[in-house]
Symmetry: C2
Subunit: 627 residues, 2 copies
Amino acid sequence: MVHPLEDMRPAAVTASRFEQGFWGARLDTNRQRTLPSQHAQLAATGRIAALDPDHRPDDPRARHIFYDSDLAKWLEAACYSLSVHADAVLARQVEELIAAFGRLQRADGYLNSWFNIVCPEKRWRNLRDEHELYCAGHLMEAAVAHQQATGQGHFLAMLCRYADHIAAVFGRAPGQRRGYPGHEEIELALYKLYRATGQTRYLDLSRYFIDERGQSPPHYYDVEARARGEEPRGAPYDYCQAQAPVRAQDRAVGHAVRAMYLYSGMADIARHDADEGLLQAGLRLWENVVHRQLYVTGSVGASGQGERFTTDYDLPEETAYCETCAAIGLVFWAQRLLNMYGEGRFADVMERALYNGVLAGVSLSGDRYFYVNPLASRGDHHRQEWFGCACCPPNIARLLASLGTYAYSEGQAAWVHLYAAGGAELEVEGGTVRLDVATEYPWEGAVAIRVDPGRAREFALCLRLPGWCRQAGLRVAGEEVPVERVTRDGYARLRRTWQPGDLVELELAMPVERVWAHPAVRMANGKVALQRGPLVYCLEEADNPFVPLARLALPASAELRRVRRPDLLGGVDTIEGEALVAEVADWQETLYRTRPARTQAVRIAAVPYCAWDNRAPGQMLVWLRSL
Amino acid sequence: MVHPLEDMRPAAVTASRFEQGFWGARLDTNRQRTLPSQHAQLAATGRIAALDPDHRPDDPRARHIFYDSDLAKWLEAACYSLSVHADAVLARQVEELIAAFGRLQRADGYLNSWFNIVCPEKRWRNLRDEHELYCAGHLMEAAVAHQQATGQGHFLAMLCRYADHIAAVFGRAPGQRRGYPGHEEIELALYKLYRATGQTRYLDLSRYFIDERGQSPPHYYDVEARARGEEPRGAPYDYCQAQAPVRAQDRAVGHAVRAMYLYSGMADIARHDADEGLLQAGLRLWENVVHRQLYVTGSVGASGQGERFTTDYDLPEETAYCETCAAIGLVFWAQRLLNMYGEGRFADVMERALYNGVLAGVSLSGDRYFYVNPLASRGDHHRQEWFGCACCPPNIARLLASLGTYAYSEGQAAWVHLYAAGGAELEVEGGTVRLDVATEYPWEGAVAIRVDPGRAREFALCLRLPGWCRQAGLRVAGEEVPVERVTRDGYARLRRTWQPGDLVELELAMPVERVWAHPAVRMANGKVALQRGPLVYCLEEADNPFVPLARLALPASAELRRVRRPDLLGGVDTIEGEALVAEVADWQETLYRTRPARTQAVRIAAVPYCAWDNRAPGQMLVWLRSL
């Protein structure tokens, strides 16, 4: 039995700072380029106009069942940004959007642009497919972020009225419908609404949605299909994790983003209720994902058919789907488990996803996006400015704009999960602790943290020792601390009386590593991935003109060096070495023959996966043949 | 410039015998099991009833636009079988089907169960998608086979009337439509009809269909779309090889089966007309397919999306589509080029496709089929008794039932392309030559051919020296013949005065071979396929309990032995040796780690690819990692 920690919680968005360095640059781009360009895209693609009931577009595609969620995620991102950086233009855009949603809301609280304007008669008739509760959830998250950013309650009040309406419609009381969302998301959003308002009815509704899922017979999706006059598809509804009650589930199945959002909501409720059954179900699912279904890039959801999980160890590289939103959802889930258990194994997955599968989702320029993140490309996979189904871009924006909540935790201790130049002010055992962090992480393993509790005070500072790190050194106020003696569950736990200005120096050994996958991962047999620190690397055609890159093989004896390249991709470290390439010259027009290709030694250079496809289009490869 | 041979033609179906041995057993099964069970499937799935205008099925799917072609291919197969083996039941089934088609034929000659019964108003309105000319072509092929098998002309006359109708509707004369089939097939069928009847209007129509394809502007598929009130899709129509006139094409594109049928028809017309432009276009396409887009199993068409060719060297193993019909179509095309040029390179591809990609399409029991033939399987790919789209099963049946036409040619020489126990009676320079062939091919490379020209006579006997064979011995009437001295273009050409009873002894060295693919084939880098003689081998889980099979790697030094296994799969030779398997035991729940898997030496056994999936379901793998 696992006992969640009693008081550990993510830092507030406003509590952290990211200054220069790896994340400072990315977050500046997110604020300066991503948020404005996304607003322009939302306007240009009709998503904003779609809120106006009087707007009559020629093109019926100018409205869509999940447009509201795109707007809501952007609103949430913008509010996080406003909470730490005033911006009159952004604030006006936010209030205009909120006002437009306000004009759309019905007297009974219902709020959805598609169903209010296009087909009011279809409200709540198809939870399985039509994303109403999903859109509602995203609006709730946005409203909570808005209230926290501005201190104003009008948007939050709108969403409370909507939540009250939903609570009246769905539930187990007589006259209510026993429905639950086809695309989960509202569960975690209702929990946020509960935390923001203290209203337990939102907690109750979230708990209801979680526990009602997958109950049968009758299965609600069958019931509502019959009510629409349609033939039910019949069980299993594993596409949306409704094949069984969630407590009976032990494998991540179906649509990966839905799964991640559900599991995150389950973690919220399980922790709140100290619900051992729900906790254990969550951990079983976590272990399945992390031990059997996780890409080395921290992405999940192998198949594009249904954007879904497939079978254990099925992690193809070229056809990998790995939706950006799924990696983001994994970060959400990992963060919840991390703050529940305080164990580095959750932070390791969170970090892996964040630095690789998530961050690859947005260009260095901040205005182009991957929806799909394969681990090998023939050169035909490129970021786009926007998508018809545009869930990923504003999802990245809101994650980056709230990065501090993933980097730090507070409560009974001050926790540092992600190392980044900047710092935080954390509430620890009733007082404020200021941390100033100096580091070139993820390029260097040295982290210096100046601790300032205001006055000398005893408390614990918990510093993550990443799972990828095999050797760490630690000095506190100039004195060497034996790391293994203070480390538990992946964190160096430094409980002492801290003086203002105490310096903690952490040195994480960060060699270039070859990574092998479990032999059950079919495509990775005989291959290695290259990793240094939290960054997974890849080969791009731009640096390695040996297409197809599958021709390359890395001898076991090849020395791999980290090379600083301030000139490249905004400043990255590459991994370089000598590999063998299969020669094509003597094949001419032969397709098959009875002797192998000759090989030739060539220099190769790998770049961080998160920085790929920011240059000329070309092939890319994460898993490299190993000799 | 290539000069087609003046008189080389496939032997008639009735001219050859297959006795015991590899093919004898397969052909017995085809006759005894495949043809009757397919007739039962045609009946059980409503395909036969669908010919009856008075039959009113409840299920609208009980008729289909290409049901006629399934029936036609079965009829063709049955007629080939009847031509060499009397069977009263089969003959009755054939005549009943022909009579049903006869009742369906309109006064103007039009004959199509879908358009006659379901939607007469849509006749000839959508050549791009609706398979009318495709069905017509298959009926023509069946009618020619029927006339040749029975000597009766009623079916052939029906199809001549239909062809006359088609010739009246389509063409370049005023009032005619400039259309051509979306699914090619009628081109080669019309050529057969011309050969059977001597009527040049069928030749002209075939030539018209070939040369009109892809002409623009306007593009016919745009024209007919507008006539239906639809928005044209617009060029390129490469899915059905109509992106450009065929003479301007130099890469095989689009739907692979359509391509193979088109190219076969092009070869027929090019040869008949000695049309150098068309010949060269065909050779360009051939070289593209054989040098860039051919699986080692002789299959083509890499992608299931559109059942089509993709890009050069794109030959994925697990997701390989490789429709059985496409490999059959490749056999048709190869046979035409072989009989045009008399060069072994065409026979090599024909043999590779036949023994591997085609033959895998049917179970050893003769009543289960693959539509898709991947080169690796996770264990979830199995033959089925039938398909909603059932093109492949009767296509295999008709190919096997006419195998002799692929094995032998006649004309200015007696040609043996495929070695099989049995023999043939060939017309050579005005006389009959009887060949009696004794061999255990493809298990043994020894072939003994007794030649009987009736009386002593000079002519050439051309014996194929397969491209896979690197060392051959030859004795004629007891005397050693230096092979290299008599060999040209892959055939030992033995021109001499043959005495009745002369014995030719051919000894083809048949070692186990490792085969490597061109390094541009991404998935095959670092891997080998195993081949012996014409047979490509694969590993099945049944013999190699080391799933996933991708865990196996074959050291370069590993000795591979052929092992006779009369007990296995109806009697096959296996290839056995020692490989290394990556151990999973010490991974526990680790998905990624920084040291490679330990390996262990294990015995492996490979079976012929054509015999896979005839035992317990399991994984399969053709390309084996090579160390």
